[in-house]
């Protein structure tokens, strides 16, 4: 088990290095930051000064090596725009992002697992079909469409919910729903399939032959087995949501999180902020994946044996 964790950690480190490298070069392919935020009134002298200040006169390779050295020292550089450490800027944004992610995960689990179980148990009746029809529809609608419609109805027409920022609990409602929409649809389907698989297993018959009530048979023996499958999918989906979902949703709702920060940093070519923001998201994704792996191993004793 310890070795398994160590191996997982080594894989994480390698993944992060790859991402750092990709982001570093991709950012520099997009153009120079001087063009975007210094404007037109720049003299040649100012320009040279700025280039020296940001260390842009050296070759890209030098910059890359210097950047990696900095990371090892825990120094991720200064924001071009705000002139303060990017770590500080990103740190301020992590909280709101995690809050939104957390509430989206909670909503997803609370809705999709019961729905999936219901869809499996009543698969032949209209209840099951209705749940699945909803799930397929939800899967087909992108989150920004849901977000836009919600803003239109609940904010502009009905004027019930606030749109911008994260000040109150009410602010959480629309972004959370928009973020979890697709996820709920996907997870409902997975829960249903996993549950259908389990319902036909011999040990379910054994559980009934023991005289256990149907609720215990389904929730204890059934869901526990289906949960193993659902868990692995959940991890992947959350990782995907952490990476992509929050960029769009945070931008729409002006949520002061990492996603929103990344978008603005990309527009003004604030390399250090962009780089560190992507690294932070990548770190989150990799961590979630690793946690999923470990949770999976804990949940299924057969895998625990195989992985030692």
């Amino acid at each position: 088990m310890t070795l398994y964790v160590l191996r997982t950690l080594a894989k994480m480190a390698l993944t992060l290095l790859t991402i750092i490298t990709l982001v570093f070069f991709a950012a520099r392919l997009s153009g120079s930051p001087l063009d975007t935020f210094l404007g037109d009134g720049l003299t040649e002298e100012d320009r040279a000064l700025m280039i020296e200040y940001f260390g842009l006169e050296r070759s890209v390779w030098h910059q890359y090596i210097a950047y990696l050295r900095g990371i090892l020292d825990g120094n991720f550089g200064l924001s071009f725009m705000e002139r303060r450490p990017v770590a500080e800027i990103v740190a301020e944004r992590i909280g709101p992002s995690l809050q939104l992610l957390g509430s989206a995960i909670a909503l997803t689990l609370a809705v999709s697992v019961p729905l999936g179980v219901v869809a499996a148990l009543w698969r032949d009746s209209w209840v099951g079909s209705a749940v699945m029809a909803l799930a397929f529809t939800g899967y087909a609608v992108p989150n920004f469409v849901i977000a836009t419609f919600m803003v239109l109805i609940f904010a502009f027409v009905l004027n019930w919910l606030p749109v911008v920022g994260n000040g109150t609990a009410l602010h959480f409602i629309m972004p959370t729903i928009a973020m979890s929409g697709v996820l709920i649809a996907a997870l409902t389907r997975f829960t249903r399939n996993a549950m259908l698989d389990v319902l036909g297993q011999d040990f379910m018959r054994t559980a009934r032959a023991k005289g256990l009530p149907e609720t215990v048979v389904i929730l204890k023996h059934g869901l526990r087995n289906a949960g193993v499958t659902v868990l692995s999918v959940l991890g992947l989906q959350i990782a995907g949501m952490a990476a992509a979902g929050n960029v769009v949703i945070e931008a729409i709702f002006s949520w002061p999180g990492i996603g929103e920060l990344l978008v603005s940093a990309a527009i003004i070519r604030d390399y250090p902020v962009l780089q560190f923001g992507v690294i932070a998201v990548a770190f989150a994704v990799v961590t979630i994946n690793a946690l999923t792996d470990i949770a999976y191993v804990i949940a299924d004793p057969r895998i625990r044996m195989a992985k030692g």
Partner: protein
């Protein structure tokens, strides 16, 4: 006994939709008595078991008529109870063990929890008390080291141990009635014998009635006091075990008894002339690398160790051994489906080991295989014509009209309707599919056919028909068979010679009569002692010795053509 019956089924009928699975079945069982419900697949015996426990509704069936009375004093009609009322009885006063110990336990729950939950529900025990009781329950079914088992998961236990755990769960509340649905079918003969013996002892101890469901007449002879023979949902015969074995009254029971291979009751097949063997295996070895964990050293586990054997044209060599002994690895290694580590395989004068892939491909046309599972080994999307002529198409390039003609010939050869060439595999029964597999093997006129547990999944009468067909084809075409099976009685019926395999090695080989009637090796003797005999209480289980470790074999001739591991 003059007691009132503890379970009394009265004119029970069970239906699945419009199909009637059980028709007007009646029987009684008293405390301490064992009633066997015998029949082939589709006879309605399992539907009966599930009906008594009222689990039949879950499988899509319903009790259309009849009564199921449980208890001798204040009897209740289980057929009238609601599911909620039934829960009080299930696992408590009436319980069940199933055929598949590998899948009948919950894989993600510890043994202790699975056992303890029955006790907590029915006897209202606390968690701690249930744990103690669970340990006792495991000890009662002779599970070694019961305290440690409570913490284990099902996959950490062998099939035999898992079935013991299932029995412990079923008997935890000391039920009045235990239903055992083919509890030993999935187990090896030696384990099978142990489980039957255990059930008998527990019955003496607890005094429950046993409803024993099986298709195995051998097990019936061992355990049952009385027998109900079923066929297509109808009751064919009700008799005491002794009377049934002595003189079965119904014609179906007679057929069933005749089809059941009985050790020592098959006419021996005359030996084939001593000519040059068509298949010769010398010193074949294959081991697999296994690692117990990341960074731990890999261990080579020998699956087949220094195996030599030969088969002459027209001869059947029966290879017998328990699961995991290396039989299937051997059959795959000698066709080079997996690469052997050492040894030589000579097929029809040509050495297979060392052939280049192209030549090997050609040579393989001389060996064909028939596998155990007739449902999994035929592609469901292909028509019978294409399926059974595929080897001929691949090896000889026949096509079009030739293929159709060949398919019709082959179908006739395996006694199926030639018009069936246009159908798909799912339209055939298990026995018919196994004939299709045989037809497919025959399509390239092979010199050797390897039948790997080819009739193990079939009903006795179907199995008897398939083995007879194999013998007829062999006698006509002179094909050599390597017939692999764990069932010694089947081996005796079909083999000219027998090789006994144990832990990757051939421990004894010789003519069928010599090996099976005068076994020299200790393992062969033990294996033979475990075979249930369809003669009531002919063998005492007390005589089965504990497993022993055998030394490395080096063949020693006992007499002409009969060798054992020294």
């Amino acid at each position: 006994m003059i007691d009132a019956p503890v379970l009394s089924v009265k004119s029970l009928s069970v239906a699945f939709g419009s199909h009637t699975a059980v028709r007007d079945l009646s029987f009684d069982i008293r405390s301490g008595e064992t009633l066997a419900l015998v029949g082939e697949s589709g006879s309605g015996k399992s539907a009966t078991a599930l009906s008594v426990l009222r689990l039949i509704e879950r499988e899509g069936g319903r009790i259309s008529q009849g009564e199921i009375w449980l208890g001798s004093k204040q009897a209740v009609d289980l057929a009238r109870l609601s599911d909620r009322e039934m829960q009080v009885y299930r696992g408590n006063r009436i319980s069940m063990i199933f055929q598949e110990p590998m899948t009948s336990l919950n894989p993600v729950m510890r043994i202790g929890e699975q056992l303890g939950e029955v006790l907590r529900r029915h006897q209202g025990l606390s968690r701690a008390a249930a744990r103690t009781a669970a340990e006792q329950a495991l000890a009662r079914v002779r599970v070694p080291d019961p305290g440690r088992r409570l913490e284990q998961y099902p996959h950490e236990l062998s099939g035999g141990l898992r079935q013991r755990v299932m029995i412990a769960i079923a008997l935890a509340c000391r039920p009045d009635v235990l239903i055992a649905d083919e509890p030993t079918t999935a187990l090896d003969v030696t384990t099978q014998a142990e489980v039957l013996k255990l059930l008998k002892n527990l019955q003496k101890e607890i005094g429950m009635a046993i409803l024993f469901i099986t298709h195995d007449m051998g097990a019936v002879g061992e355990i049952a006091d009385r027998v109900v023979v079923m066929r297509h949902g109808n009751t064919e015969e009700v008799a005491s075990t002794r009377a049934l074995f002595k003189a079965p009254q119904s014609s179906y029971a007679r057929d069933l008894m005749r089809a059941t291979p009985r050790l020592g009751h098959s006419p021996l097949r005359p030996q084939v002339p001593l000519v040059e063997p068509v298949l010769k295996v010398e010193g074949l070895s294959k081991s697999f690398a296994r690692s117990d964990g990341f960074l731990r050293p890999k261990v080579r586990v020998p699956a087949v160790n220094n195996v030599s054997l030969d088969i002459r044209p027209g001869e059947t060599l029966g290879l017998v051994g328990e699961s995991g002994c290396g039989k299937s690895t051997l059959s795959r290694a000698l066709m080079r489906l997996i690469e052997p580590d050492a040894g030589r395989v000579i097929l029809a004068g040509r050495e297979l080991t060392g052939l280049c892939p192209r030549r090997l491909q050609e040579a393989r046309a001389n060996v064909q295989m028939v596998f155990q599972d007739p449902f999994a080994s035929l592609n469901p999307r292909m028509r019978v014509r294409d399926l059974i002529t595929e080897p001929a198409f691949l090896h000889k390039g026949i096509s079009g009209k030739e293929r159709t003609e060949m398919a019709e010939n082959l179908l006739e050869k395996v006694t199926l309707d030639p018009a069936a060439a246009d159908r798909y595999p799912h339209q055939f029964s298990g026995g018919q599919r196994q004939r299709l597999c045989l037809a497919r093997a025959l399509s390239v006129s092979p010199k050797v056919i390897i039948a790997d547990e080819a009739v193990s999944a079939l009903d006795v009468s179907t199995a008897a028909r398939v083995t007879r067909l194999m013998q007829e084809i062999q006698e006509r075409d002179g094909i050599a068979f390597l017939f692999i099976s764990h069932d010694i009685a089947v081996i005796e019926r079909i083999s000219h010679r027998v090789a006994v395999m144990f832990r990757g090695e051939i421990v004894e080989t010789g003519e069928t009569a010599q090996v099976l009637h005068a076994p020299r090796h200790e393992y062969t003797q033990r294996l033979l002692a475990s075979v249930p005999r369809p003669l009531p209480h002919a063998v005492s289980f007390e005589d089965i010795p504990e497993p022993v470790q055998f030394a490395q074999p080096s063949a020693r001739a006992v007499r002409d053509q009969h060798y054992t591991a020294a």
